[in-house]
């Protein structure tokens, strides 16, 4: 084994925005100086960045830190706030729940919590600290002490993509990344793993690897032979409003006849995103149309599409940010070592398909429901081929509260149980092992869990006060 100069020396990232900037920064952090990294059109943030949904999941914490976006920076300069999940309001008549982030549920007497809840007919949300805190509009950091029920809460961030793009851009400016601009990017030739891009038809740029982060424009990947598999089209309309006080520690989604509206509450702003059916030809008030789906191969030739250039999924959950993170992690894990890169490409595409499809299962469960509204958006959202993988989950959960897992699904067991409970699904039966504990004792323990939570919530500060105090503290620490 030897390490000659790397097979992939020049990497060109096309596009800016969340995807382009996160990829560029990750690459320059991870790779040594024998790799040349260039970014084309860094300043063009695709408007579709807003449909990343303005929220991260708890899994993003280390990833963001690796990019230099640690919590103090996000709070002080990134105008972020905390996110305990997404509050679904009147998703269907009678369906209102908090899709919260939660650490693995505790067991009672060695048996999973869900079976005890089914047995004693106790609603799950009553014993979820993060759901109750979000409903009360309160927040505090989960403590390290496992005896404190708040330790089971998990959180991500709410943010305005424009703020984070600005932070990332400033960080890239301090690195060795070469930055270029072009009106048009054309693939001129693709020979043996080396691609020549023509910028504005006159500058030729040679690259061993191209990262397409141009959003739904898919500028480069669409020129490589990979095609987009469209599921359906929706319209997204975004608005920003100044806010004097930070809103709740969770996003809010509310359904209507035409579709649904998402509200995000970072510092100083309220972001609102309306998703409806595509615009009719004469409609002018609408936002922009987006095709949902994914590309057939995210890695084709030596071009890898990431983020919205590879897939588009509605921001019903933090799935868009989760998938973007996975795209970048997968890319770093599989930086090719040969010009052909056949092995890496095959593995990348396999995991890409799994990740996108598995995230899609969660959204399918939200959208494909009995008794959906009879409008264009909802009919289209509930259409298409039902997935056997989702059917298995629903069957197993409905039977006995079991949620089958597929490989490395983005959503964990807790996410699924909270979702299915929120959608009003109830297991018919529970695990017999729960019977080892007398029913009265189970009810007693559940009552205690609820009482501890009810007692704790009023002692947590409101979200906006917590953020303000935290910022004061961080400012003081910075100046010491």
């Amino acid at each position: 084994m030897n390490s000659p100069s790397p097979a992939v020396k020049t990497i060109v990232v096309c596009g800016g925005g969340l995807a382009g900037h996160m990829a560029t920064l990750s690459l320059v952090n991870a790779l040594g100086s024998d790799h040349h990294i260039a970014q084309v059109n860094a300043s063009a943030t695709p408007p579709a960045d807003d449909i990343y949904g303005g929220a991260t999941s708890p899994e993003s914490y280390n990833f963001l830190r690796g990019l230099g976006l640690d919590e103090p920076l996000l709070m002080l300069a990134g105008r972020a706030s905390f996110s305990l999940g997404t509050h679904f309001r009147r998703w269907r008549p009678g369906q209102t729940w908090h899709q919260c982030h939660h650490a693995p549920f505790p067991t009672i007497d060695g048996t999973p919590l869900i079976h005890h809840l089914t047995r004693s007919r106790t609603p799950l949300s009553e014993v979820l600290i993060s759901a109750q805190a979000a409903l009360a509009g309160r927040f505090a950091h989960p403590p390290a002490d496992p005896a404190n029920p708040l330790a089971l809460a998990e959180y991500g961030y709410q943010f305005d993509p424009l703020d984070w793009v600005r932070l990332l851009d400033a960080r890239i400016e301090t690195t060795r990344v070469e930055r270029l601009k072009a009106e048009t990017i054309t693939v001129q030739s693709q020979v043996a793993g080396r691609t020549v891009l023509a910028l504005d038809d006159d500058i030729a740029l040679e690259a061993d690897l191209i990262i397409d982060a141009t959003g739904p424009a898919r500028t480069v990947i669409s020129q490589t032979g990979s095609h987009f598999i469209a599921d359906r089209t929706v319209n997204a309309r975004i608005s920003r409003q100044a806010a004097t006080q930070i809103g709740q520690p969770s996003r809010v989604i509310e359904a209507s006849e035409e579709g649904w509206t998402l509200k995000v509450f970072p510092q100083e702003t309220e972001l609102s995103l309306a998703i409806t059916s595509p615009a009719e030809p004469n409609e002018t008030l609408k936002g922009f149309d987006v095709e949902l789906g994914r590309v057939s191969e995210a890695w084709q030739g030596n071009c890898i599409a990431i983020g919205h250039a590879a897939w588009t999924i509605e921001p019903l959950t933090p799935a868009p940010m989760m998938l973007l993170q996975r795209d970048i992690e997968r890319l770093l894990e599989l930086i090719p070592t040969t010009a052909e890169a056949n092995t890496e490409r095959r593995e990348y595409n396999r995991r890409f398909r799994d990740d996108v499809d598995h995230a899609g299962l969660f959204h399918e469960a939200l959208l494909r429901q009995e008794g959906a509204m009879n409008s264009a958006y909802w009919k289209s959202a509930a259409g298409g081929e039902p997935s056997e993988k989702l059917a298995r989950k629903l069957r197993q959960y409905g039977h006995r509260g079991i949620v089958p897992r597929y490989d490395l699904e983005p959503f964990n067991n807790e996410d699924w149980i909270i979702l299915l409970e929120g959608l009003g699904k109830t297991p018919q039966d529970y695990d017999r092992q729960a019977d080892r504990l007398p029913e009265a004792e189970t009810q007693n323990q559940l009552r205690q869990m609820k009482a501890t939570i009810d007692n704790l919530i009023p002692r947590m500060p409101p979200h906006h006060i917590y953020v303000a105090k935290l910022k004061q503290y961080l400012e003081k620490k910075r100046h010491v």
């Binding site: 084994m1 047995r119 079991i402 092992q433």
Partner: protein, 507 residues
């Protein structure tokens, strides 16, 4: 919802003793609520069980803990010893050996796998072996043992272990455990199995004594025959012998000479391989081979020649077929152990697969109606487990340069499952490993065997390029000396056992 209680199976019949039967009986009697069901185990003393010194993987500790079995008491009762890994001799090439230790190699740093650091380190230190950075491997080679330290900052926290023990004694021990918890043992040979005329569900079994035993739920622990799952319910078998061509074993115990090694030895031979499993009072040995390429007499000669002490008794022959039932749970019958499937014990997974069969069953515990929705999920999960273990075992046969016999020429050049070839290629490029979510064998296991059998990555991962070679050398050398220091302070394996759980039994 308490009225559904009445629907759970009330009469559970386990057919067959041995490790599978008694592990099932012990687990069910321990986890089911009191009086939830009546459990009977039917076995015949005339039918022998298989098992000559059993080697395990660390998961067995969880099984014993679930039952609440005290470790020292269990080791004493089964002449058990500690196992820190497996030494593979003559697998990649003749004359070579490597250790597949439990636990991980080194410590991952900055989100980059340890082995990537080591691959870069090896460029300047060609004599280095990745085993030098495994605490379990260093202790095994020194014949030492200590309990892992739960404090993650201690170097001893990296130690992982399993056991070697007498499987017959383990079954006997679990029998006592289960009988104490109300399991009724019925001595007798099964003569007939009764089925419901319409549903095909098993309703009862008739015994030679004339006794008839009725049941709602049946466990088939009858070994390779699969009296219930196969002979009665006709579930078909997925054959894997084209990937794993060994079909026969000759097993024998011998007197122990020398120290009690804290690891298993697996030596590749002309048409198969031989195991050596140390228990407290003797050594278990077995030669596994392909009967198409080696006669029984040749196999026995080779087995006896390579014993390291006088033989105890004469070799026992075991025929087997590698693969699994297409359904391990059919109607009201669950196949646990050899009746459900068999993979040769190259990576000591036999008891693990039994354990998985039991624990998945408990987590999916059915009502007496035995709804297909439950058995369907059970079968999906169990078949996936078998396939994952299969790939790891095939790797040992495929990743070889041996060309000294028909057997190795076949395995070296055979087609392998796509899932395995994709993994091997990925590792060959730049030492990358992908692990499926709930896979038994983790990254360090794959790395130990891939590197041990000379699958060398062509280049280092580019993400290690940014880390300075001097920094890597410093980190690795300090890891190694910390491990060597910790092992130097350990007791010998024998001294530890004598102090902790010595049975005092002699052969």
């Amino acid at each position: 919802m308490s009225e559904t209680n009445s629907q759970s199976p009330k009469r559970i019949i386990i057919v067959g003793g041995g490790s599978a039967g008694w592990m099932t009986a012990a687990a069910l009697s321990s986890v089911l609520p009191e009086n939830a069901a009546r459990i009977c185990l039917v076995e015949s003393e005339q039918i022998g069980t298989i098992g000559v010194g059993e080697a395990t993987i660390p998961d067995i500790i969880n099984f014993n803990a679930m039952l609440g079995i005290p470790e020292a008491e269990f080791l004493k009762a089964t002449n058990g010893t500690f196992k820190l890994g497996i030494q593979f001799v003559n697998w990649g090439r003749q004359g070579e050996s490597y250790m597949h230790p439990f636990g991980q190699h080194g410590v991952d740093m900055n989100g980059i796998d340890f082995h990537q650091y080591w691959l870069k380190y090896r460029q300047d230190h060609p004599d280095s072996s990745i085993e030098d950075f495994s605490l379990s491997a260093i202790a095994a080679q020194g014949g030492k043992f200590a309990m892992p330290d739960p404090n993650p900052r201690s170097v001893l926290s990296q130690l992982r272990y399993a056991y070697h023990f007498d499987a017959t004694a383990y079954a006997r021990y679990l029998r006592g455990f289960a009988e104490q918890r109300g399991v009724r043992r019925i001595e007798g040979k099964v003569t007939h199995i009764g089925q419901h005329p319409e549903t095909g569900f098993i309703t009862h079994i008739d015994l030679e004594s004339g006794e008839s035993v009725d049941g709602d739920l049946f466990f088939d622990c009858t070994g390779f025959r699969g009296m219930l799952i196969s002979q009665t319910l006709g579930v078909s078998f997925q054959d894997w012998s084209h990937w794993l061509p060994c079909d026969t074993a000759q097993a024998i115990a011998c007197e122990r000479t020398g120290e009690i090694l804290p690891y298993t030895i697996s030596t590749a031979k002309q048409a198969g391989w031989q195991w050596r499993i140390p228990t407290q009072h003797r050594t278990g040995n077995g030669h596994i081979y392909s009967s198409k390429l080696l006669s029984d007499d040749e196999a026995i000669d080779s087995l006896l020649q390579d014993l390291d002490g006088p033989a105890l008794g004469s070799p026992r022959k075991i025929r087997f077929q590698t693969g699994h039932r297409t359904k391990l749970w059919e109607k009201n019958c669950v196949a646990i152990g050899l009746s459900g499937g068999f993979l040769e014990p190259l990576e000591s997974t036999s008891l693990f697969l039994i354990q998985e069969g039991i624990s998945k069953f408990i987590s999916l515990y059915p009502t007496a109606a035995m709804p297909a929705v439950v058995s369907d999920e059970y079968n999906r999960q169990l078949v996936k487990k078998f396939e994952q273990v299969r790939d790891f075992i095939i790797l040992h046969y495929k990743a070889t340069e041996r060309d000294d016999s028909e057997f190795w020429n076949y395995t070296r050049t055979m087609d392998i499952p796509d899932s395995l070839s994709a993994r091997m290629e990925l590792f060959q490029e730049a030492g990358r490993i992908f692990r499926y979510e709930d896979e038994l064998f983790a990254k360090p296991n794959w790395i130990a065997v891939l590197l041990g059998q000379n699958i060398a990555p062509k280049s280092v991962d580019p993400i290690i390029g940014a880390v300075g070679a001097a920094d890597i050398t410093r980190s690795l050398q300090s890891m190694r000396s910390a491990m060597q220091g910790a092992v130097a302070k350990m007791q010998t394996h024998r001294a530890f056992l004598e102090h902790y759980a010595w049975s005092g039994e002699t052969v």
